[in-house]
């Protein structure tokens, strides 16, 4: 037993015609086979690598015994967004990177494919339910219905709290619904998991932006802020305000609304697009642009491929679809009259590693050149909406809500977590932080030590 199972993937030519998922799921036979590749390690390193600590060997073993519902229980008891995470987790950086099959010189067990399979087997009968404690009459408000907020809301709801989640968007889900596009995972996955959370008595109020967290304490015993990192960082170079320059988060939000039929997409048909950045978001922007009909998409990244934070899988997919990577290239200036016409770039060279181990870069003098383009998308980092954070009245440091190890903010009774605190991490990290914050809030409200 050694070869990893691969499912059917639509050709790049076919998949860019739509926003639909293009990677097929495992079926019984292939899932059993892939499950049999799991050695069932003791104290498995894949589990440690999962922020939500899903008992991966156990859920995979249950696939082998055809106990699919039991397998779903294992996943869901650790991660209430287990289906969504099966699709969107950067497993190449997390569980699969620690699979001991790597140590044997083999490909890791396809944990994400198996997790998707379990979700798809779980769905028809309805998602797995757990016991819920009777109401303790205590009220918690959650601000922001993204993965961190919903995860905390579920945990607290299950413990008997009366939880109300407020969100400014028309639909709950935050990034799951407005940031992740359906070629990665159908929105129905997140929707089913959100509907499941509601069944634990969690109230979801949409189109309800909250400004004053302290005010909420009049009606609620505790507040959890999980408003995410909805803004993109800029580069601070000339020309960023030209029409045709998009910030990644706004761009993806617009595309998501367009695909939902709730708005117009940026007009990219036949246009040249430059995406600046080397993370997973940059890859998403490139792939979205291709699906919107862009004629040419360049991804500009100032370091080399080995420093690129985007997972290799995503890079490969984008490249196959026609995105061209311009490495060791940094934008200096966005050029244009009344709209973007190009990006002036400079070639970079790598220096020695910095404190974090990442190699520094510096421009090569005289290497400036211009890339002609109609559109520029800046995907150089995300951040919370600082004005919104400040409006909550909690202490904000370096643009992020400051919390202690118990996710408590500067205001007693107000907690915070997810991207608004960590500055922008994975969905699975947000789910994990939501769980931990719920634990802290429960301790705070119950007086437990």
């Amino acid at each position: 037993m050694s070869g990893r199972t691969h499912t059917t993937v639509l050709t790049p030519q076919d998949r860019i015609k739509t926003f639909d998922p293009y990677v097929a799921n495992l079926i019984d036979r292939t899932a059993w086979y892939e499950a049999s590749r799991c050695i069932m390690c003791f104290d498995a390193p894949c589990v440690t690598a999962c922020p939500t600590r899903i008992n991966i060997p156990e859920f995979i073993f249950r696939i082998k015994t055809r106990n699919y519902r039991g397998s779903a229980k294992i996943i869901r008891e650790s991660n209430i967004f287990g289906g969504e995470c099966g699709y969107v987790c950067p497993v190449e950086r997390l569980c699969e990177s620690k699979c001991v099959r790597n140590n044997l010189g083999e490909e890791p067990v396809a944990i994400s494919l198996l997790q998707r399979f379990v979700y798809e087997m779980e769905k028809p009968k309805g998602l797995v339910k757990f016991d819920k404690a009777p109401s303790n009459k205590k009220k918690v408000a959650v601000v922001g219905a993204g993965p961190a907020g919903l995860s905390a809301a579920y945990e607290l709801g299950r413990k008997g709290y009366e939880v109300t989640v407020c969100d400014s968007n028309a639909k709950p889900g935050g990034l799951l619904i407005y940031g992740i596009l359906p070629w990665k995972v159908a929105w129905s996955v997140a929707e089913s998991e959100i509907a499941n959370i509601k069944e634990y008595g969690v109230r979801l109020l949409t189109k309800k932006p909250i400004a004053d967290a302290k005010g909420l304490l009049k009606d609620f015993d505790a507040v959890y802020i999980s408003t995410g990192a909805t803004k993109s960082a800029g580069l601070g170079i000339p020309g960023e305000d030209l029409p045709g320059v998009h910030l990644a988060q706004d761009f993806l939000y617009k595309v998501a609304c367009y695909v939902k039929g709730e708005g117009k997409a940026p007009e990219l048909k036949g246009k040249k697009v430059v995406v600046v950045g080397g993370g997973d978001t940059a890859i998403d922007c490139a792939m979205a642009s291709l699906r919107l009909g862009a004629e040419k998409v360049y991804v500009l990244y100032r370091r080399s491929l080995s420093e690129m934070p985007a997972v290799p899988y995503g890079r490969k997919q984008a490249k196959e679809e026609g995105a061209e990577f311009m490495l060791l290239t940094a934008p200096v200036k966005i050029i244009g009259g009344n709209k973007v016409s190009g990006v002036e770039c400079v070639k970079m060279e790598l220096g020695s590693p910095d404190a974090s181990g990442r190699r520094s870069v510096k421009p090569i003098k005289g290497s400036e050149f211009t890339v002609e383009t109609d559109v520029v998308i800046l995907a150089v980092g995300q951040k919370p909406d600082e004005a919104a954070l400040k409006s909550f009245g909690v202490k904000v440091k370096d643009g992020l809500i400051e919390v202690d190890k118990n996710y408590a903010t500067s205001i007693k009774g107000v907690f915070a977590g997810g991207d608004a605190v960590n500055g922008g991490d994975t969905v699975v990290e947000a789910v994990a932080e939501g769980k931990k914050a719920a634990e802290a809030i429960d301790k705070y409200l119950s007086g437990r030590k």
Binding site: W32, Y33, A35, S36, I39, C41, D43, A44, V100, L104
Partner: protein
């Protein structure tokens, strides 16, 4: 000039071009099939068991079952099929055709009749006179036939083995081989009984009586014949250990050649049977699973193996391992070792640890991310870890003097 090891085997008076024969089973159901198998390269064949025309035979639909792993990696095969349904006259005609076309390929006629001496004698006469090179007496089939006093019913009764072997000898003009059932307490005793009755060779094993499974959705036993089932004969890879034990016991107890049968899927299995003393081997289940073409690698692999090991003929390896099989009480009690884990090869999966903790002697220390370590004081050298470790050569033995 390439010199090839000699694969020929002398089996009683028969000359086999290699030690591979097809056993009495579906792959030898007709003369046409046998001839195709010979064409493909099989050295010999035992016909599907021939019976007197008056013996009624019935085959149920859905008469097979399997037990396997993922992706149909079959390990046990079950059948509740009976002997041939074809008339004796048809067989006599086809035996003649096969022998005419392949005079140099040994053809063995398998026989079964009710436990009456005259019936066996007559059948042996008819089939041997048709031109087969040897007869095989089927005293082994464990399903269906025994309910009517045939197959394993005979193989489980020494007095019938003796009586019917003698009767068949009486009718036959060719050597007689007795095929034994493993469904007895002491197969060696049955082998000695056959030898004393004049058998020229023994073949073992026939299938092992079992129940392949139950469908937990329908509660029906398998293989399901319209909702019900019966115990059947198990064959396939998982039967090899039982078959090897039986063959070794027969080789130890008798002085006549043994044709080894049971779970032989590759040349490697065949080598093992030859090493424990089998004169040749017979194959069925793996051929049913993948076809006559398996013979090509069986022959080539054996040739290559003999060449690599420096043997010039297959006869040189027959029985090499047999003297190394002894009684439990005669094994070396001074042989003391402990497990040794190669830190560089260890993939840190903790499998050795959990097995030793929960099924051994708590002699392995393990912490996530670090190579496992053996506590030599506690290690009882049971070998569980060396077997369950997924990395070849990672856990080995270190000789110690306690």
């Amino acid at each position: 000039m390439v010199t090839k090891p000699d694969l020929t085997v002398k089996f009683c008076k028969l000359e086999l071009e290699s030690p591979y024969m097809l056993s009495s089973a579906p792959p030898t159901c007709t003369g046409e099939m046998i001839m195709r198998a010979f064409e493909e390269g099989w050295a010999g064949a035992v016909t599907k068991t021939i019976k007197p025309d008056k013996t009624a035979v019935y085959d149920y639909d859905n008469r097979f079952g399997i037990m396997g792993f993922e992706d149909k990696q079959m390990v046990v095969f079950e059948n509740i099929e009976e002997v041939t349904k074809r008339p004796l006259g048809t067989w006599i005609k086809e035996i003649k055709e096969v022998k005419k076309k392949y005079p140099e390929k040994p053809l063995i006629g398998s026989l079964m009749a009710e436990p009456k001496e005259d019936e066996w004698e007559a059948l042996a006469r008819a089939v041997s006179e048709a031109g087969v090179d040897m007869l095989e007496l089927n005293f082994g089939c464990p399903h269906g036939m025994p309910e009517r006093g045939m197959g394993a019913f005979c193989g489980q009764r020494p007095e019938l083995i003796e009586k019917l072997t003698k009767a068949s000898k009486q009718g036959s003009n060719v050597p007689i081989m007795v095929k034994l059932t493993p469904n007895v307490t002491d197969i060696a005793f049955m082998g000695k009984t056959a030898e004393a009755a004049g058998a020229d060779a023994i073949s073992a094993i026939n299938t092992v009586l079992g129940l392949i499974g139950v469908n937990i959705d329908t509660f029906e036993p398998m293989p399901t014949v319209n909702g019900k089932s019966t115990f059947g004969g198990m064959s396939g890879p998982a039967m090899k250990p039982i078959a090897m034990r039986c063959v070794a016991q027969l080789c130890q107890a008798t002085n006549i050649p043994v044709s080894g049968i049971g779970g032989i899927t590759t040349w490697r299995d065949a080598v093992e049977f030859l090493l424990i003393g089998a004169n040749n081997v017979q194959v069925c289940t793996s051929v049913m699973w993948r076809g006559y073409r398996l013979i090509h690698d069986m022959v080539d692999g054996l040739t290559q193996y003999l060449d690599d090991k420096g043997f010039s003929s297959v006869k040189e390896i027959q029985g090499l391992t047999l003297p190394k099989l002894t009684a439990w009480s005669k094994l070396d009690k001074d042989w003391e070792v402990v497990a040794k884990i190669d830190k560089d090869k260890c993939i840190k999966c903790g499998i050795c640890f959990v097995g030793c903790r929960d099924g051994g002697y708590q002699a392995i220390k393990f912490e996530q991310g670090k190579a496992a370590e053996v506590d030599e004081e506690k290690c009882d050298a049971c070998s569980l870890c060396t077997l369950s470790c997924p990395v070849p050569g990672c856990i080995t033995w270190k000789r110690v003097k306690k």
